[in-house]
Assembly symmetry: C2
Homo-oligomer: 493 residues x 2
């Protein structure tokens, strides 16, 4: 682990950004986390930002459905058969291992999670794999379903499941939403909510939890319109890919993507461009992201084309979400399962809409990656200082108001400015009068506060304050009169 | 059912405000609901309003914890023993009934849910109660636990539960939050999230679901400071109660509450006042709400004083949340359960903080009650029209932009105004060009849009539009220049 990651984890723990659920108890409750007050503010800001940039700007619809759905839904969707991981159990210590992960680590090859049982058995034999804990044989090579059943009501038998992804209610609700929306395709339907996956070995903190949140976005469209979108304004925009045919990451302009037939429709390119912009605005750098084209072996069987959006974190590419052209698989499956016709009629034609899974983002993963990617260590006066360089709309506090000292009327003046800035709820304001001004700056830099306003004796004389920038440490004298407007500009930049 | 309620339910269904989960499937999945796009907008606005008015204005902390917690947490909290309902099963048709509900309905007496099994048996005998469906005997009089167990991981035995309320993680996380907050008591800790209760007979739509959301707020304080709050500014504020000693609802001033020793501490009065204001701001009228004092028989055993906040809906008082002085019960229980000392030291004194459950609001219930209370039928030109009189911060759209007709440049002008109003995300703006202007007004009134802006031929000539008020139908000519500021004023009023 690098020094930076070590300091990052220490920061996360000491500030209670997030921490293990029920940690005061002895139970093994791996894979469950709580967000503390500062972490939760950042979490809420990310959700808000997604809602504004993805849902509202694209005029998508947002719904909120149940986390628990009846068995028949997941029978139709295929989750009860196919939403599983390959596992093996140690014949002696009985520890259970996720096989793709175990094999990948030991063989240093990339081994996917959807090989056949025979393939895994072959690989175990070939590579002489034993239990990494006690070196005994692995047995019970099988697939383990990640869906968690739950009994409903007082009588036996009514089995439902905790959803493993937020998209299924979008599919089963689609026809109703469509009918009451007074719209024609394409229609985007989004959902934010919790999901549960009974992971074998949750690990890496927020990167693989059992309970987590998704920010989901599914686009329904008429397949004949897959190229009916005007890209002329964005032809020169560049999107960063790792294609199967390329040996490394490469940026392609929208024009190149069209000309070289890399993406299977202009509609898909349109959203790839939007997603990249969204991620840049969230605070990722272009060199730390890529749309990785997946092989046929790797991608879901119903997908016509899949790009995994990956973020570089601590020298490893981490999947943040899949961009999936799901075709008519979902509506057709639920049509069969429910025996309800889920096709629609537009312009006299009856058809089953196709689905583009624009993004099904793991919120907790996104949260972790934003923080980790923007956590910096800066040396100042031979002291190592943590800086969390969050964007204004994501940071827990955009601006803090700090009286230099509490006496001479500075505390009162500061409170006045604090109330004035807070009034219309334009951005989040923090007040801090405890400790030396240097320590306060350091604390605020560490949690990502973008600006500090310091009220000193000069403030009383000429109605000006100092405005300090978190990233450059630059301090400027600003009149109180201009303060709110200036900050509002910075906030919306 | 009244005509108004009938029309309300029809409105909810045809507009997909909310609807049963997995309704295209045949499974009995009672007690689960989905919010459609308009319903979800209102739901999100209510959450936002709570966050701003309760969490932020009171400087409370907000966390976000797991929905699934280990068994030991609920053993300590008492949920596995006491979070249950009395039930009886029909000896013939095997239907299960919630006993307090069944007995209350049949005997027309108020029968609470925490009597002993013997008491229920006695009442069944006395009143000759049989199965309301098939008239056979009731048997298996017992208590049914509402907590839903779930197996974690691939090995048997690790049992956890879906939480039945959002407060437990607040209690078990408290010490960590306290230590990293750099604050002293009192400290409010809030949480919004889903909970699950395995209800015997979910009913009344959103009023009793199995899966629902809570808006939770717990205040930790030093019991010696229960009267250390200055109420001098609110002495004349009146709060509406239904006390045990009174035969009907009655308003008491804060001064009367103190003088007559009605509430067991000034700190409690302070928050009762805040809560009443919050509910009024959400759109309830004072005559439709009351803090009902609960009897010893009715209230939770750990509570020193409980007021149930109830809302009048369709001539029935519905509990929205409990205001509970929980004393040190929760921290003491988890201290024992976890064997960790959860007391703190302030001013040299070691003590276990007391907890005031300020409000643990069922969001879905709140949602339903706001809509139902504000759903009105207005007769216009001998036509019955639905109006949803939501407050600006709650309504799905605050303002709609409507071109009178699409030709003569009115569509373009309207789009320009729409983009201009949307720009800084000050409030939600809707655009609608489909159908006659009268029908558009009617549709927008029905979903609660506060204002309509109509762009007509005069707009092109003199840069003015008409601004129409949803509740009064009044239309005024306003210049485009003043429009945004005026609307922003109305929005924040």
């Amino acid at each position: 682990m690098t020094e930076r990651i070590k300091r990052f984890q220490e920061f996360v723990s000491t500030k209670s950004i997030y921490f293990p659920s029920a940690e005061i108890y002895f139970d093994n409750h791996a894979g469950f986390y709580e967000y503390g007050p500062i972490g939760n503010k950042i979490r809420l800001n990310i959700i808000d930002f997604w809602r504004k940039e993805i849902v509202q700007k694209n005029d998508f619809l947002e719904i909120s459905g149940s986390m628990i759905l009846p068995k028949s839904v997941f029978e139709a969707s295929g989750h009860l058969k196919k939403f599983d991981d390959p596992i093996a159990t140690c014949s002696k210590c009985k520890q259970v291992f996720k096989l793709d992960k175990l094999l990948s680590e030991i063989t240093s090859q990339e081994i996917h999670e959807n090989l056949t049982i025979e393939d895994y058995e072959k690989k175990i034999k070939e590579n002489n794999i034993t239990c990494p804990l006690c070196k005994n044989n692995l047995e019970k090579i099988t697939r383990f379903n990640l869906m968690a059943p739950i009994n409903i009501g007082a009588t036996e038998g009514a089995v439902a499941y905790l959803r493993g992804e937020t998209c299924q209610s979008i599919f089963i609700d689609f026809l109703r939403i469509y009918k009451t929306s007074r719209r024609t395709l394409p229609i985007g339907v989004c959902q934010h909510g919790k999901v549960y996956r009974n992971e074998i070995s949750p690990r890496n903190g927020l990167l693989r939890c059992r309970e987590f949140e998704q920010l989901e976005c599914e686009l329904f469209f008429n397949p004949k319109d897959i190229d009916s979108v005007d890209l002329s304004n964005i032809l020169n925009n560049k999107i960063r890919f790792k294609l199967l045919k390329d040996t490394e990451e490469k940026e392609y302009s929208v024009k190149e993507l069209i000309d070289q037939n890399i993406v299977c429709g202009k509609l898909l390119i349109y959203y790839l461009d939007i997603l990249q912009k969204f991620l840049l605005d969230l605070g990722f750098s272009l060199e730390n992201m890529r749309f990785r084209e997946t092989s046929d072996e790797e991608k879901a069987f119903y997908s016509k084309q899949t790009f995994d959006l990956e973020i570089l974190s601590n020298n490893t590419w981490i999947e943040l979400f899949s961009f999936n052209y799901r075709t008519d698989y979902d509506l057709t499956s639920h049509s069969k399962g429910s025996k309800k016709d889920l096709s629609i009629v537009e312009d006299g034609n009856k058809f089953t809409p196709h689905v583009l899974e624009v993004a099904s983002i793991g919120l907790d993963r996104l949260f972790y990656l934003i923080l980790e990617n923007n956590f910096k260590i800066k040396e100042i006066n031979q002291e190592q200082r943590n800086i969390l360089s969050l964007k204004p709309k994501i940071s827990p506090y955009f601006v803090a108001v700090l009286p230099l000292v509490k006496k001479d009327g500075l505390l009162e003046k500061s409170q006045e400015i604090y109330e004035f800035l807070k009034k219309e709820n334009l951005f989040e304001v923090f007040f801090d009068e405890k400790g030396s001004i240097g320590k306060r700056y350091a604390r605020l830099d560490e949690i990502g506060c973008n600006y500090c306003i310091t009220i000193d004796h000069q403030t009383i004389e000429d109605e000006t304050v100092t405005l300090r920038d978190r990233d450059t440490f630059e301090q400027k004298r600003v009149s109180i009169k201009e303060l709110k407007e200036k900050l509002f500009c910075f906030y919306n930049f």
